[in-house]
Symmetry: C2
Subunit: 523 residues, 2 copies
Amino acid sequence: MEHNSSVHSNRRDRAAGSTSARANSRSGRSAEVPDGFMLPLANSSELAVELRIRIARGDWIEGEKLPSVRRMSEETGLHRLTVYKAYNRLKDEGLIESREKSGYYLTVPRRPAETGFGSVQRFRSPEQSDPESSGTESLEVPQPALLGELHSVECRYQFSQALIDPLLLPNSYLSEEAKHVFDLYPRVLGTYAPLQGDEELLNVLRRYMSETCGFVPEGQELLVTSGGQEAIHLTCEALVRPGDAVLIEQPSYSIAIEMFKHRNARLVPVDIHPDGYRMDEIEALMRRHRPVLFYLNPTFHNPTGWCVPAEQRKRLADLAETYNCILVEDDAFRDVYFDAPPPPPVYSYDTAGNTIYIRSFSKYVFPGLRIGCLAARADLMRRLLTAKARSTGGTPLLNQKVFAHQFQSERSRRHLHKLRTALQLRKEAMEKALEGSGWTWHSPQGGLNLWIKLPEGISPQRLLADALGSGSGEETISFVPGSFFDPEGRPDPHIRLSFSMLNERRIAEGVALLRAHAEKQGF
Amino acid sequence: MEHNSSVHSNRRDRAAGSTSARANSRSGRSAEVPDGFMLPLANSSELAVELRIRIARGDWIEGEKLPSVRRMSEETGLHRLTVYKAYNRLKDEGLIESREKSGYYLTVPRRPAETGFGSVQRFRSPEQSDPESSGTESLEVPQPALLGELHSVECRYQFSQALIDPLLLPNSYLSEEAKHVFDLYPRVLGTYAPLQGDEELLNVLRRYMSETCGFVPEGQELLVTSGGQEAIHLTCEALVRPGDAVLIEQPSYSIAIEMFKHRNARLVPVDIHPDGYRMDEIEALMRRHRPVLFYLNPTFHNPTGWCVPAEQRKRLADLAETYNCILVEDDAFRDVYFDAPPPPPVYSYDTAGNTIYIRSFSKYVFPGLRIGCLAARADLMRRLLTAKARSTGGTPLLNQKVFAHQFQSERSRRHLHKLRTALQLRKEAMEKALEGSGWTWHSPQGGLNLWIKLPEGISPQRLLADALGSGSGEETISFVPGSFFDPEGRPDPHIRLSFSMLNERRIAEGVALLRAHAEKQGF
């Protein structure tokens, strides 16, 4: 197979070369992506990308001469004209300069924050971007739409992504098992999936829910989605019209906030506390605003990790019925508990059919598959199915089959058990590293994050800018400032530190460095 | 692995039993899905589903006694109470009745259109649904939102789905190759994909486009999507506000029509003819309505198969610049040509960056992966990326890797070449079967469909109802009435017959039967 073999040889030839750095810088995940490998360079724009990366990592020093066009042409196998074009592009960008009858020379400083590639530059510290600024709040509060960009910044200590460390997954076992799917379903690549989901997967999910969620979904009550995120999107598309009131926890999942805002919903924040909601507040808001829906994440809530107690769940189902408000229950972290399983979902208390129950699994199994699902009664389901037919259509069959094949296997169950222990250890390591900092949080009983209140005088934005921008890029740290989770985008003294991506030792190192940054702000 | 082995044994034990019928009826694709196999029945609602199917296919005749609760419990391994619940559910539905101290008896007629399961009942012929009706136009014109349901109706002659027959794909080769992906990327299941797409796939797509589309996308100019459909959805989400004018071909892709309508766009139809557009009409519409975008499918247009000539493409790019109208060019059928490749995309003529170029591949390779992409210049891309971050997030990595690994292989290229020939033969078989019918069409030079005008007096809706509802279900035929493709949902004397799903012999049989139905309408 032509393409395949060229990939192979290329991979070998260039294994120690610049290509894997290039792949990594693009995906922003050197820690978790398998070794990147590239096709041979095809054109001047690809060469320009590669040269930017080599400049950024310091292959040449300021003022040094770059290889001649002829030599670069030989090295890359590209036509000289192509190399010439790439050089001229970098020249236009000010990265290199040409000297008559001599060649091309590096003109720029080589610090990552200033080389102008990647998204790092968007997160320069205030000092870098504006020497006149006073510092404290001069950096614009990053907008929630930028959360993805924040996540894609390559940094040494990754506390911003609430995702499972790929090293915690039994990767080779999963891969070997996944291969069987092709033997069991020889036409899996050639077949569209039914809109509602593959029947086998629906059965696996039904059984899973009856075992772990305290309810047994009826035949047509489940819909397979591309991750929990698509399920929220469908809910928003199907139910929210411009101007509708939508209750939403404060703080809440930033992507959900963005979705409802984009539909021009009127967001009405509902406070969540370590012991749950204030039910009288919710009733008053429902009575006053008549919201079309309440988007909630009552189990190991993102970003706080808090859990709403069972009696409030029951009461909420009653309120939803009284005020004809749909409860959109996002339950992404149910399986990631530390000591005891959480209370049953609100959905299981709902006898009137007012709840849409959303499950994501990507947070702890198979993020590369993006399988999620939702449960809803017939009339809501009809609207959600229409929305799915109108957006992406059926979830790819391959992903559904691989998931169905493995999700509830004995090995997967054992893995989940071990995963809980590993995550609890990471949480405890982070809490230990924070001792004596004066930073405060309520220790969560599940989930992937600590929601930490910084002492007065420390700005989460400024801290982020410092942590991302520091020095050589060797000790950069990322986390998410609390304002990302505020439905109204207001400043918030909290930060979210995810403990899922790094091991205990690196958590300890990263937190110590972060504390040092904070201390420079006057502590 | 527990789950896996239970699947295996179950598959063997029940291979000849009712379970595969059940899986098929749910997915509605007995022809192309691999043998369905099911987990053992888990609860009363699953049993009820199974019983409905057995009733539907005639396991018992009207008035016949069903197996006792005890016997059914033994047969299924379910608790008697569970069986009792399932029977009672069917009783509530009127499918069976209980006679005191005797048991349960079948009460209903067993014709598929009347058993009340599946979506077949939605397509009863007028005679069946209303004996008083006069027939001709009494059946409501099916709404475009129902197209998915139409596709899911199981029938013997499938002319409604414009999809590739899975038998035309080299399935086992594809499966074997796909397995390599797990060796090359051992962590592929455990890794989230970057929002814009996997770098390796982006490079494959860049190279593909430079070879076949007449332009070379820049580094950040491509975005991987979950099929072309998601790309249209993102475009709609990112660019259309309520009340905006949107130009759209008449006829057009029904799912796109639905998307724009859902955003409350004002649809302005643009006629398409066998020789393309009337450019003065387009200019007048742009001048008058100042549309935010024009959604077009100029290459082997769906549903007509027509192709817009090169000079009109160039002129269109100019008009878009003049009137500041974004061209959303859906190019799903470019590779499915019969004699000569089509003209370059409009995108390649656009020097001003007003075009979004959407590629689907699911119509002819890997429908089970749902990989598509779009190309757009920087400022449009930024808005599309935001929309993607807000809807499904990154396209699953596994799908991207499998696609990247195989799409441009030598074997895949050879396959595509053979596929074109196979499709051309099917098209010719359909045209031959239509000779002498008095039905008219312009023979397309690519794509998967004939767009046929029925003689006056034949109603496409009535014909569909007859074709889907006929007799025992043995000779059912599906196709899509023209009104599904009308932006305003008006009646249309055309029908779309897809020639891609059946082989030549079955095309001949199905078309002959369809002609016989039409003749009953007075010809």
